[in-house]
């Protein structure tokens, strides 16, 4: 018995050892963007986000790609010295439901205090972590350009104590912008096809709930009839109740707003229940290019969003096309096809926004960089990049004057941009099951 037990312990120790070795092997490869160009002290960019999540992983890849491009040009010149960029990253694991906020903040603080980054990019995954991280950023005074968490509270909090929180900028879309986009897309669909009856289904999380309420308000004020609005808890896997109600109520458009994997069930279930309505909204699993294969073509006709263009090549924005090509070249076409609809675009751009600001400030000092960042005005893969007075990139419908997100429709295995008009490449077609 005694012998057996020590055998088990030995087995366990060996197992743990193997796991750690495997882990180290993997974590080493992920810190890309090394500085082989020169011996100058590199400019350190910190990325602390949920690297295990789709958005986080893609964003880090996008940052790596951008850093590689900058370093290929020899880096950036600060005070007459050419310095390369270097990425340090840490996994905050925020996408795991069982994770306490303090753990994510500890990771962030570790990165800031130990690696002393000159700026932070991508930033928190969960809204509540981002809000509490703003206090940490205020403490360490590091320029922080976030691009994943979407809560509008960001701007409110920034206003409450501007001097304190001015180091934070946001490149990603906010839920307020999303409401705007969805509403306008609905207008567009309404005009085109004469639809007036909508059904909203959304996830029980803050950004989705806020977006759904905003859309509902807008639709009702603009002559639509909202037959129903249902909320589902994260993890729900049966949507028959809402679909039945939508079908019986004669809904012409179903507006889903979800970022959980289970929302794939909604898509499939609607198809199997033969609900004769156009789906137009956000379903995260159906956003990547690979979704056609995943859903075996059942996404056909779905109108979905990419929050910021970039992962979706849009012909009107040239850079978004080259970004996709280069992403595919560096990480493989497979990886490019899996890119989610939120994160990578602004993450990629944030590197150039930052380097641009550093060049203009000709300094790495946080306050100088912040002042330069405020005056950002450049073309990126997400369109025109300008910050408003609350350090939020302005999103609107014309890529020549603002950043854009885009609605696209799945047609024959391809994602075709359909909104905003300035970026549209085709009109919204009704899927076959609706043309009776």
């Amino acid at each position: 018995m005694k012998k057996r037990i020590s055998g088990l312990v030995l087995f366990g120790v060996v197992l743990i050892g193997l796991l750690i070795i495997a882990g180290c092997g993997q974590s080493n490869t992920s810190t890309g963007g090394d500085s082989k160009t020169s011996e100058a002290k590199p400019i350190v960019i910190g990325v602390a986000t949920a690297l295990g999540s789709i958005e986080g992983a893609d964003s880090l890849r996008a940052v790596e790609l951008a850093v590689e491009e900058v370093n290929a040009g020899g880096g950036i010149t600060v005070k007459g010295e050419k310095r390369p960029l270097k990425i340090v990253s840490i996994d905050t694991r925020e996408h795991e439901p069982g994770l306490p906020v303090h753990d994510a903040l500890a990771a962030l603080e570790k990165l800031i205090t130990q690696e002393k980054p000159d700026a932070m990019l991508v930033g928190s995954f969960r809204s509540e972590v981002m809000l509490s991280a703003m206090d940490l950023i205020a403490k360490y005074k590091v320029p922080n350009i976030v691009s994943i968490a979407m809560t509008p509270e960001f701007e409110k909090k920034l206003q409450t104590n501007y001097e304190n929180y001015k180091y934070n900028f946001r490149m990603g879309l906010t839920s307020a912008n999303l409401v705007q986009y969805l509403s306008k897309t609905m207008d567009f669909i309404g005009k085109e096809h004469g639809f007036k009856k909508a059904y909203i289904v959304n996830q029980e999380v803050l950004w989705a709930e806020g977006t759904a309420k905003g859309v509902k308000k807008y639709l009702e004020a603009n002559g639509w009839q909202v037959i129903g609005k249902d909320t589902y808890a994260t993890g729900a896997s049966d949507f028959s109740a809402s679909l039945t109600k939508a079908k019986n109520g004669g809904a012409e458009v179903i507006i889903p707003i979800f970022d959980m994997p289970q929302s794939g069930v909604l898509l499939k279930q609607a198809r199997s229940m033969k609900v004769p309505a156009l789906m137009a909204g956000f379903i995260s699993p159906a956003a990547p290019d690979s979704a056609w294969k995943t859903f075996d073509g059942e996404v056909d006709g779905l109108v979905n969003f990419v929050f910021e263009i970039g992962p979706l090549p849009v012909k009107a924005v040239n850079k978004s096309m080259t970004f996709n090509d280069n992403f595919g070249k560096k990480f493989g076409v497979d990886q490019q096809a899996k890119m989610g609809g939120h994160g990578p675009g602004p993450a990629y751009d944030s590197v150039f926004v930052l380097t641009d600001a550093i060049k203009r400030a000709d300094s790495l000092e946080a306050n100088a960089v912040v002042d330069a960042l405020k005056k950002t005005d450049m073309e990126g893969v997400i369109g025109k990049i300008k910050f408003n007075e609350n350090h939020q990139v302005i999103y609107d419908i014309d890529p020549k004057t603002s950043a854009i997100g885009s609605a696209f429709q799945w047609v024959d295995g391809k994602r075709i941009p359909v909104f905003p008009e300035a970026a549209a490449e085709a009109k919204i077609k009704l899927p076959e099951f609706m043309n009776k």
């Binding site: 589902y232 049966d238 109740a241 039945t244 069930v265 199997s272 989610g340």
Partner: protein, 290 residues
Amino acid sequence: MEASVLIFGLVNSATLMLVALGFSLIFGLSGVANLAHGGIYLFSGYVTWMLMNYLGVPFLLAVPLTIIIAGVLGALIYWVALKRVRGLHLSEVIATFAVGVAILELFRWMGFVTYEFTLPVFIKGSVDIAGVSIDYQRLLIIGIGLLLAFALWVFSRYTKMGLALRGMAQDEYTALSIGIDSDWAAALSMALGSAIAAIAAISILPLGIISINMGYEVLIMALAVSVVGGLESITGLVVASIILGFAKTITGTYFDPKWMEVIYLFALVLVLAIKPSGLFGKFKELEERV
């Protein structure tokens, strides 16, 4: 409306029953509260996916293979982890919980978090019943659920092996004295329960996308159904699934879908507080409280 409540209520009940069968079987037969259930469930889903996509095994072959692999995994968990802590309820619970978390988080670490993991349905398409369109897969879930429950009922009552396992659960010493091998019985029940979890995974997962957090959700569902029904009775399991499944659908249709996922937890806590042995549990009544 009523027809759809009836049909989707049945689907939900069958889903719950399938998910809970494996868990309940293991508890009923060997007294182990197998908290690795969710881990095994998702493990089966990913194994099928890997067999099909990495090794190119056809679906029809991947299914039995996965069921066997899951069964072996169950037996392995017993031999490696549970055998030495048999009878120590606390240690069993912690050990299986640790195994479950390890399995789930290992998959998370290996990058199984993207949106490409789906299993194919058995038969594509859908059919109209009483004005409600329903896909064959959901009908199949009802069928498989009923079939499995019936098979298990027959197994545990009318086969020698089933009787031996039940005897073990009721009184280990007496069972030992008439020549039933305790370890063998427990390992077998773990293997059976895990195989059933695999069957559940293969029938339910094609409805959507496989994602890690479902492992934890599934565990809660299985716990709720088993506790409400009574931890060792198949009748209780069926009744509890029907109660919870319909409660879920009715809440979603007539009340508000956001409460649908709260029902399990609420039922779980309520039943544990009032009648821990569940609606149909009998012979553990004396042991459960003082």
